[in-house]
Assembly symmetry: C2
Homo-oligomer: 225 residues x 2
């Protein structure tokens, strides 16, 4: 689909049909997500994918019983590794092999930088991984919709209960949940008028930010490109 | 552009041409960014946009003198408001008007939920705003590339120096920088082989996560759709 149309028609979908996502399509959506940019190309993202059986029910329990977690074909726990060094060596060896780096000394310097990032307090490393991993999550949702698959990003869950239920290794931050599935016929999120967005004039500041605190929502005109 | 092609051809661009982005195009890119999803539709994003003159030079100073900050036509400081309540009333009034909510009591309940989020410690509110705002930043970068405009997300900057230089209101988290501009003829980021990505088999876990620690980078085949 043209990106303009994808952008204008994507919605966060809460009502799903029973149609199954075939595994090849699902894999191509995750492959798309891996093409998101990340600082130093460190790619801290991982995806815990829950489909049939108990997994989705257990996730719904830690997500305040939100029904679309089990009604969607697939529920994804988007995870971020909190250690910047986790994949750094392989990444910089790849840069060296492709001549993005002139020599091993430069690679070693980059590794030192990233090792320094690894010494940030945990709160900063959580922000670091949330930033990169959210870029991949957004890409995942556009790629899904490009296949006609609706998605809903969710931040309403109990992170500790989730970590315990799924025995997440401690290094991972659960960044968000994303449900994936074909929208139900007549799904209200798609049929209803788009929820208002803060207008460009309010969110864009040229040169300096003056927070005036007022908010006016607007409805962008539908794209037809 | 078809999303598949957009995804496969987007790169983080460091070398820019002198071509100016016209203001209408720039505005449409920011309008696209406002269509990103966000939890409760709270849209905590703001964009400090620096174009000609001193702004970009000052930003480069707090971004460890990275040259593409001033070489790009436009440099954007992507900001996230750290108070979930900042726009909540307008958002829920909009939902009520569009019948997403049945009545004012439900709206008031949602406002209470969001007020509760506002009581999270600052570290959690920073993560909350980073998550939503990064979804908008990714959308911004795809929308830019859909116009042939390259972008580069950057997390290498001194957040305190940045806040001081641009007198940012305290409520804003500087989430990332994004440079925007038409790529230079023969820009190496576009001409060179794509940097390796962690393969789907490594980042996707069905049912449970077992971190084995090994990393193998792969090059996805170029899309031609």
């Amino acid at each position: 689909m043209e990106f303009g149309e994808l952008l204008q028609t994507r919605r966060s979908v809460h009502q799903y049909s029973d149609e199954t996502i075939d595994s090849e399509t699902l894999e191509s959506i995750f492959e798309a997500a891996t093409l998101a940019p990340s600082g130093y190309n460190l790619q801290p993202w991982e995806f815990l994918v829950l489909r049939e059986g108990d997994g989705k029910a257990a996730l719904r329990e830690v997500a305040y019983d939100q029904a679309h977690v089990t009604e969607a074909d697939t529920a994804v726990v988007v995870l971020g590794h909190t250690d910047p060094m986790a994949h750094a060596e392989e990444v910089f060896d790849d840069w060296l092999a492709k001549e993005y780096l002139p020599n091993e000394d430069v690679r070693d310097g980059l590794l030192e930088n990233v090792a320094g990032m690894g010494e940030m307090p945990e709160s900063e490393r959580r922000i670091w991984t949330t930033r990169s991993t959210s870029l991949a999550a957004m890409t995942l949702m556009y790629a899904a919709w490009d296949h006609g698959i609706g998605s809903c990003p969710m931040e309403g869950f109990d992170p500790e209960a989730l970590a315990e239920t799924f025995e997440l290794p401690e290094a991972y931050e659960p960044v968000m949940l994303v449900t994936l599935g074909y929208p139900a016929e007549g799904a209200s999120d798609i049929e209803n008028e788009r929820k208002g967005r803060r207008p460009v004039e309010e969110v864009v500041h040229y040169g300096s930010v003056e927070a005036d605190g007022s908010t006016t929502l607007s409805i962008p005109s539908p794209g037809d490109d």
